[in-house]
């Protein structure tokens, strides 16, 4: 069982240990990859990445609310339905003279913020280093490549570069998996949206893939001809067959452990209707509830996906329902975690490939750059971190086209989250190599 539990790590370990002629034993391998992470027995922490696909309109999610900022926002957004009236908004935290409010469809998230269990992280985005408006020029070396392209900025947010093969969630997982023991290690990183995710791709740790429908089972009996038919391709000469065979190998090796331990859906509150995000979060919650006890896992990183945010048109009818679903799903997850006494062990944080332009088009908004984000859980400090911008395209924080110039890098954001997970300083410095460029490293998200 031990050998199976770390099959993929083991495969990678063979090469990274460079043992000539013989494969290393599992214990030799595990000691070789012992990480610097400080984990104490009995503790458990999970990061849950909530990804908005399409580029969330951050400024209609976390809205400028002090009078000067609000007026500038309203003047810029103008178009009917794109700017909320000030009285509709749900007042949120302040930073000096600046204040934000939450979208009217986010009452539960506003309540979490009021209870200091949700932190607003202002104006985060991919950066090469600090950049000012006057330094901006298209295709400048100071700019991350291929800004405003969905695919490339998804990659940049998830892997800190548009051509990196690993994501920072996966690299954090590499540093954390040894603390999860043999049964927990295969579940160090978990995609809950059915697909293989760049964010969770590590150099050693393989992500396990589940979905809003639940978790997979090994549907073939070990050792049966059926199993052989699926698994002999792990040795196939054809590399695509090998890759598919590896998926079945994971099912055989790991699915049973997770499936048999998982609490049934009916032991949880009723899901909000037609809410795919809540479904994925339910699967995450089911795993979190049994991960420390049944799997021996102490650190886990999850990914859930929420799509539909590319609101180029009809934004006034398309974006508010997304906010409502977000609020319902977060509330659902919070209730489950709180009632299990795990809310302080879990941090839910948002990502999205870009924010949207301040200036609207005829009924919607186009791709931008920086965006506001939320970090939620019992461990966060609340309030606002990062710098709220001066609203308006003539000011220092926006380009003429309405892109918000990020003042906090994705690396600072990621490092704060990795630090909370207990990943050691040297690993953090390796995973977030450019973070030293910034004065505040990492940003302070937690108590």
């Amino acid at each position: 069982m031990l050998a199976k539990a770390s099959r993929r790590q083991f495969l990678r370990g063979v090469s990274s240990l460079a043992v000539a002629g013989a494969a290393p034993s599992l214990s030799a391998y595990l000691s070789a990859m012992a990480s610097a992470s400080a984990q104490t027995a009995g503790d458990y922490k999970a990061l849950v990445c909530l990804y908005f696909s399409g580029g969330n309109d951050h400024i209609n999610t976390i809205v400028p609310f002090d009078t000067a900022s609000y007026n500038a926002y309203y003047a810029a957004r103008g178009g009917v339905g794109l700017a909320f009236s000030q009285s509709q908004l749900l007042p949120g935290p302040s930073q000096g003279a600046l204040q934000v409010a939450f979208n009217p469809n986010l009452p539960n998230i506003a309540a979490l913020s009021a209870a200091k269990q949700a932190t607003v992280v202002a104006n985060v985005g991919p950066l090469i280093g600090p950049i000012t408006k006057s330094q901006y020029a298209p295709n400048s070396a100071l700019l991350p490549p291929l800004l405003a392209s969905h695919i490339d900025q998804q990659k940049t947010w998830q892997s800190l570069g548009h051509a990196n093969p690993q994501g920072w969630g996966g690299l954090l997982g590499d540093a954390l998996s040894s603390g999860n023991g043999a049964t927990g290690a295969p579940f160090t990183t978990v995609s809950a949206n059915g697909e293989t995710i760049l964010f969770l791709t590590g150099t050693e740790t393989s992500q396990y893939v589940v979905s809003g429908q639940g978790v997979p089972s090994a549907f073939f009996a070990a050792g049966s001809p059926f199993a052989n038919a699926l698994l002999h391709s792990t040795m196939s000469a054809n590399l695509l067959e090998q890759a598919v065979g590896g998926v079945y190998q994971d099912l055989q090796d790991y699915a049973g452990e997770l499936d048999k331990a998982l609490p049934p859906v009916k032991s949880f509150p009723t899901l909000p209707a037609n809410n795919g995000l809540a479904q994925e979060l339910l699967t995450v919650a089911r795993i979190i509830k049994i991960a420390p006890s049944s799997l021996g896992a102490r650190r886990q990183i999850f990914y859930v996906n929420f799509g539909g945010f590319d609101t180029h048109d009809q934004q006034s009818t398309r974006h508010p329902p997304l906010m409502k679903q977000l609020d319902d799903a977060v509330n659902y997850f919070h209730q489950i975690m709180a009632s299990a006494g795990l809310w302080s062990n879990v941090t839910l944080f948002t990502m999205s490939e870009f924010g949207r332009q301040l200036l609207p088009n005829n009924g919607g908004t186009d791709h931008g750059w920086g965006s506001h984000h939320l970090v939620m859980g019992g461990a966060v400090a609340g309030g606002i971190v990062g710098q709220l911008p001066t609203i308006g395209v003539v000011g220092p924080n926006f380009l003429q086209n309405g892109w918000m110039i990020p003042t906090t890098s994705v690396e600072q954001y990621g490092m704060a989250l990795g630090s909370w997970m207990g990943v050691g300083a040297s690993d953090l410095a390796r995973i977030f190599p450019n973070v030293a460029t910034y004065s505040e490293t990492p940003v302070k998200l937690f108590f």
């Binding site: 695509l240 099912l251 790991y254």
Partner: protein
């Protein structure tokens, strides 16, 4: 007597074809292998036609297919399909009580009727490949109330499958569905902020994606599809910048639905009063010069100067001509078509040969898609036997391809409502993948996806379909298919059997008793490529399965269809 429409007649003919088998032979294996790349699955009659009538002359088969006209039509078929309860509920919320339009989900349903029964198989397979490059998603919020437009889009891809790329590009750019999905309809010139009103910018959605996804891609490519590197920095060279997107977004202003002003005289914007109206959704969108930007527009080293007379059609023609003539289009589009039909990792020589045909079909014509498709299927890399055993060759049959082959080869017949039942209200159930229903314009998966921690990734190779081939999806698909195989159809009726589709095992059941089953599965589904190990695994499962020939056949199908050897089309 009621006249039977041409397509329905063809369908009857196909259904009436006798179940038979083709004896395995090198010729038969070659025929099946070719047809696996060019169709949704070869029935015995299809293979026999290629082997016997055409003497394995692939060129003749391609010509025959390109000339074939079956009368298949998304618009006419989808119109005849009933909205299921879930679809009509969501539709009537959007459009009011009386709905006569096509349901968006019925566009996806119509795909299956064509893939399974249309005799123009090459056209269907290529149109499916095009639908994964020129993506619309019929259940996207922009299209949920506009099924007619989506049906017209399905017909557009089917019609233009072998047309000139410039025609295809023009038709897509004038389609009501794409205009809604990538939101360039009602797009207007931007305005600078003033003391009384905020500034606006034109919508950049289509302007960006037509460059990034439909024509030239992000970085400059050589003929073999490899990025050209900057001599100084060693980095790939971007094909365009944000300024080009802005320039192009100004070109894409002033286009609206056909016949628009008669209905809505005043403001130029999305209007729900057009719901339920069919006519304009079928027709090419047209320009409304008064809403077209007259500022200077720069894109891809072309500049249209400030003009006093708005010229939307002229500006658009210049933009699309510029894209069409860009050196990237041949390798960029050619490689993706190879990936959809033949192999995920074509050699640079293969891409280069196809790009060269795109650039010149031999008669001096650029963009001849028929010639490109023909070259892809006839290329030595696609046809040589040695490719089958090349470790990097092949592509994963995504769930849609697997399901379509199952339905074609096992006599799949639609249920009482005339559909195969793949109502995509919850794509995470059932197949996990639905035609015309990708999550976004970026399709079901990315062309450069490489499965992490595999030998494939270590070699820098890709398998786009692996992005959706995971512990989760292989499990869900097995659980969906196993009861279908066992029950010879998809019984959705609970206690009272009610079939979304049925399978006809008539020709297959006798093979179970005669021990010819594995041989025939191998030939028909896997072009004779099944390893001895898999053959013996399936045979062992068959003999260990109780409950008679149907149960044994079902288990054989389940094991084969799940197997990595089958999943990789080689």
């Amino acid at each position: 007597m009621r006249k039977i429409p041409a397509f329905a007649a063809a369908l009857l003919l196909a259904t009436a074809a006798k179940a038979q088998t083709v004896a395995s032979s090198p010729d038969a294996q070659h025929a099946y292998r070719f047809l696996a790349q060019a169709t949704f699955g070869a029935r015995p009659t299809d293979a026999q036609h290629l082997i016997t009538d055409l003497k394995l002359n692939y060129t003749a088969w391609i010509q025959e297919q390109m000339a074939s006209a079956t009368g298949f039509s998304y618009q006419s078929i989808a119109k005849g399909l009933p909205c299921s309860v879930a679809a009509s509920a969501s539709l009537s919320t959007a459009v009011g009580a009386s709905v006569t339009s096509i349901c968006p989900s019925d566009v996806s349903q119509t795909f299956w009727l064509g893939a399974v029964n249309d005799a123009s198989q090459l056209r269907q397979r290529v149109a499916f490949a095009l639908s994964q490059i020129f993506v619309i998603s019929v259940e996207d919020g922009s299209l949920t109330a506009w099924g007619d437009a989506s049906a017209a889009y399905g017909d557009l891809l089917y019609r233009d499958a072998f047309a000139n790329f410039r025609v295809l590009l023009d038709d897509i750019t004038h389609s009501d569905a794409m205009g809604k999905f990538l939101s360039f309809l009602y797009n207007v010139q931007g305005s600078a902020p003033t003391s009384t009103s905020p500034g606006t910018v034109p919508d950049q959605n289509f302007a960006r994606e037509v460059m990034q996804l439909f024509t030239i891609g992000l970085v400059k490519l050589d003929l073999s599809g490899e990025p050209i590197l900057d001599a100084k920095t060693g980095q790939p060279i971007p094909t365009y910048s944000q300024n080009d997107v802005i320039g192009a977004s100004n070109v894409m202003t002033g286009f609206g639905p056909y016949d628009y002003p008669k209905d809505i005289p005043s403001d130029f914007k999305y209007d729900g009063s057009l719901y339920g109206r069919e006519d304009f959704q079928f027709k090419p969108t047209v320009s409304y010069p008064q809403y077209h930007s007259t500022i200077a527009k720069s894109f891809l080293s072309v500049t249209i100067p400030v003009s006093t007379t708005p010229n939307p059609d002229g500006d658009l023609k210049l933009f699309l001509d510029t894209l069409f003539n860009h050196q990237n289009v041949g390798p960029f589009i050619g490689k993706q078509l190879i990936q959809r039909l033949v192999t995920s990792n074509p050699s640079s020589g293969y891409v280069e040969r196809i790009a060269a045909v795109f650039n010149n079909n031999g008669s001096g014509v650029r963009g001849d898609l028929g010639a490109v498709i023909s070259a892809i299927l006839l290329d030595p890399e696609a046809r040589n036997d040695s490719s089958v055993t090349t470790p990097t060759f092949g592509k994963i049959r995504e769930p849609i391809l697997r399901m379509a082959q199952i339905l074609r080869l096992l006599g799949g017949k639609p249920g009482a409502d005339g559909t195969f039942g793949f109502a995509p209200y919850d794509p995470s159930l059932q197949l996990g993948q639905y035609p015309f229903l990708a999550g976004s314009v970026f399709n079901f998966y990315y062309p450069d996806f490489s499965p992490p921690l595999t030998a494939l990734a270590a070699k820098g190779l890709v398998s786009p379909e692996m992005q959706i081939t995971t512990t989760e999806t292989v499990y869900r698909l097995d659980q969906f298919l196993a009861p279908i195989f066992a029950g010879a159809g998809w019984n959705v009726g609970g206690t009272t059997p009610s079939y979304a589709f049925t399978l006809d095992y008539g020709g297959w059941l006798p093979l179970v008793a005669s021990n010819a089953l594995v041989d025939q599965l191998n030939l028909a589904f896997m072009s004779g490529q099944m390893s001895a190990a898999l053959q013996s695994d399936i045979a062992a499962e068959v003999s260990a399965t109780k409950g008679g020939a149907q149960s044994q056949l079902a288990q054989a199908l389940r094991v084969m269809i799940d197997s990595p050897e089958y999943i990789v089309q080689k």
